[in-house]
């Protein structure tokens, strides 16, 4: 196929309400045809003075070098959404990643979502110790110096709070940006020690089936982890995106359990007790269990389901009139890789397959993109992810039919954005 033919075919709508072929941007079709042909918005560029005017920052040497970088002051408004905790209990709460202000698959460390149960401890790594005991041949204590000498591995993987996107099951759609509604979600490169290596050194008794994980925060957060998961892909993470963990992400060492609900990746890890049975801590009984309509509850619902959200367009990012836009978002699954993401611009009547941005990694956020020619009319856009096991992200309706509306965790239903003729984008149930 010649380049021209390719461009023409990618300009044909592939699904209702203006969805174009996913290869349009990749083939360079939009660029070669020129902004005018596609109605690309150029208003922003028009206001800047044309060359050869020399802007202020070219007329004198810039800032000096620095020991630790910071972002442009013009980006200072990109902040986590911090939920105000109840009076007197500072630190028990959450802050959310502003997903709609980021692109790519990696979350910057300073914008990784937070969920703490009693604040962020200020841990001196010299004094921090990790104890492994219980049903083991040799109970062992590790200093951070010792842990740093172990061979490490790196993996890019997402972390999602079990309680993310609760608003999907609310009776009425809630207003908020993508990050406010779905931002208990982040993705980092985690570097650390495969937990199995340390467990082997301690020698797990054959009767040991579970591991109690305890944090060194003021809540001494505890969760029970099945030994099988620990031996499979559990990591004692020490680095996040190349630098030491941030205090709010568990400095100096945290557990990281790929694909599982965030709460179980215990931060500030200080103790691992090998036990026969789960300990039945408060955060695996009172919380992080799913109440069903019949009054029974699901327990140990560890894996995060297949899910996707459109980050742009989304509420707070107003449209700029009819024209060509890129619909972009994130898809992920606790079961493995994302196989496919489909997008609808007509409220689910028709669907088009989105392009997945490489790398598409197991249990990582996957960026998807699709060109869309918005005609300026009312449109409901939504995305649907399928993972490598073939599991399809459920509709909100199917999720509620299965689990009711009183559960509070593992909410992976499809949610839509209403794009209105006045350029506003709002949250809708679909």
């Amino acid at each position: 196929m010649s380049q021209n033919q390719q461009i023409t075919s990618t300009l044909e709508p592939v699904a209702g309400n203006g969805l174009l072929h996913r290869r349009l941007f990749l083939t360079g079709g939009a660029a070669t045809l020129g902004a005018g042909a596609l109605g690309l918005l150029t208003a922003r560029h028009v206001t800047a003075a044309p060359p050869p005017e020399v802007p202020e920052w070219m007329k004198a040497p810039g800032a000096p070098l620095s020991g630790y970088g910071r972002r442009s002051r013009f980006e200072a408004g990109v902040q986590r959404y911090v939920a105000t905790p109840a009076a007197g209990t500072t630190g028990a709460g959450a802050s959310r990643t502003p997903l709609e202000r980021l692109n790519g698959m990696i979350t910057p460390n300073a914008l990784h979502f937070e969920r703490h149960h009693s604040g962020i401890p200020d841990i001196d790594p010299e004094q921090h110790r990790l104890l492994i005991h219980g049903l083991v041949e040799r109970p062992l204590v590790f200093s951070m110096d010792a842990l740093h000498r172990y061979p490490m591995v790196s993996r890019i993987q997402f972390l999602e709070c079990s309680g993310n996107s609760r608003t999907i099951i609310a009776a009425a759609p809630q207003s908020g940006t993508c990050g406010q509604l779905h931002g208990l979600l982040s993705c980092s490169e985690w570097t650390g020690i495969p937990l199995g290596v340390l467990l082997e050194e301690a020698g797990v008794d054959p009767q040991g089936r579970w591991l109690l994980m305890e944090g060194a925060d003021a809540a001494a957060m505890t969760r029970s982890v099945p030994l099988a998961k620990a031996m499979d892909d559990a990591l004692l993470a020490i680095y996040q995106n190349g630098e030491a963990l941030r205090p709010e992400q568990g400095y100096p060492v945290r557990l990281f359990l790929p694909g599982w609900e965030g709460n179980i990746s215990v931060k500030w890890l200080r103790r691992i007790a090998v036990t026969r049975e789960p300990t039945m801590t408060r955060d695996e009984t009172s919380k992080y269990t799913d109440l069903l309509p019949d009054g029974r509850s699901l327990m140990f619902t560890f894996e995060m389901g297949v899910k996707s959200v459109i980050t742009s367009p989304s509420p707070g990012l107003a449209m700029q009139g009819p024209g060509l836009y890129e619909i972009s978002g994130l898809a992920w699954s606790g079961a493995g890789r994302i196989r496919r993401v489909e997008i609808s611009a007509d409220g689910g009547e028709s669907w088009a397959e989105a392009a997945l941005t490489e790398p598409v990694l197991s249990k990582a956020l996957t960026r998807f993109r699709l060109p869309w020619r918005w005609d300026g009319g009312s449109a409901v856009i939504m995305s649907r992810a399928v993972d490598e096991t073939g599991t399809v992200q459920p509709t909100r309706e199917a999720l509620i039919a299965e689990k009711g509306t009183r559960f509070a965790y593992h909410i992976n239903g499809i949610e839509g954005w209403q794009v209105a003729a006045n350029n506003e984008v709002t949250n809708v149930h679909v």
């Binding site: 492994i132 300990t279 619902t301």
Partner: protein
Amino acid sequence: MSTSKWIVAGVCAALTWPLTGGSQEGPNLGIEATPEEIAGWDISIGADGDGLPVGSGTPSEGASIFAAKCAACHGLQGEGLLNDRLVGGHGSLATDNPAKTIGSYWPYATTIFDYVRRAMPYQTPHTLTDDEAYAVTAHLLHLNGIIQADDVIDAQTLPAIEMPNRDSFDRVYPPTD
């Protein structure tokens, strides 16, 4: 062990993991923990009562501790104030307004002692004595109508309590298929 040897052994352990179930030689940089050290760290209580310390408490002893150290956030009767409601809600789980409290929801009484001793009072955790933690636990069980006002809660009686919602949890892990 020489440096190069542990690097090789460690890398093997990491790379072959988890294909081999057998024991691999790691860097072995952990220091054996003494029973005394472990005792100072091991604060978790199993659902079977494993780990419960000596000591005891009754609801009436717990009531005054609760009023002084807990009620400001959870309400005098545990009805919930700034923070979680801890009492009541029996029979509400299958209704449109489920109240998940210790009495209506928690499957194990041991969890109360474990959690309160490690995390409460919120501003000053690790300040309750074991007797006080037993007493507050007893008080919360009594407020929820699970034990009598003069019942003694200790390492034997606590794990023997059958919580009302005990059998209403279905484990999703391990997967059955």
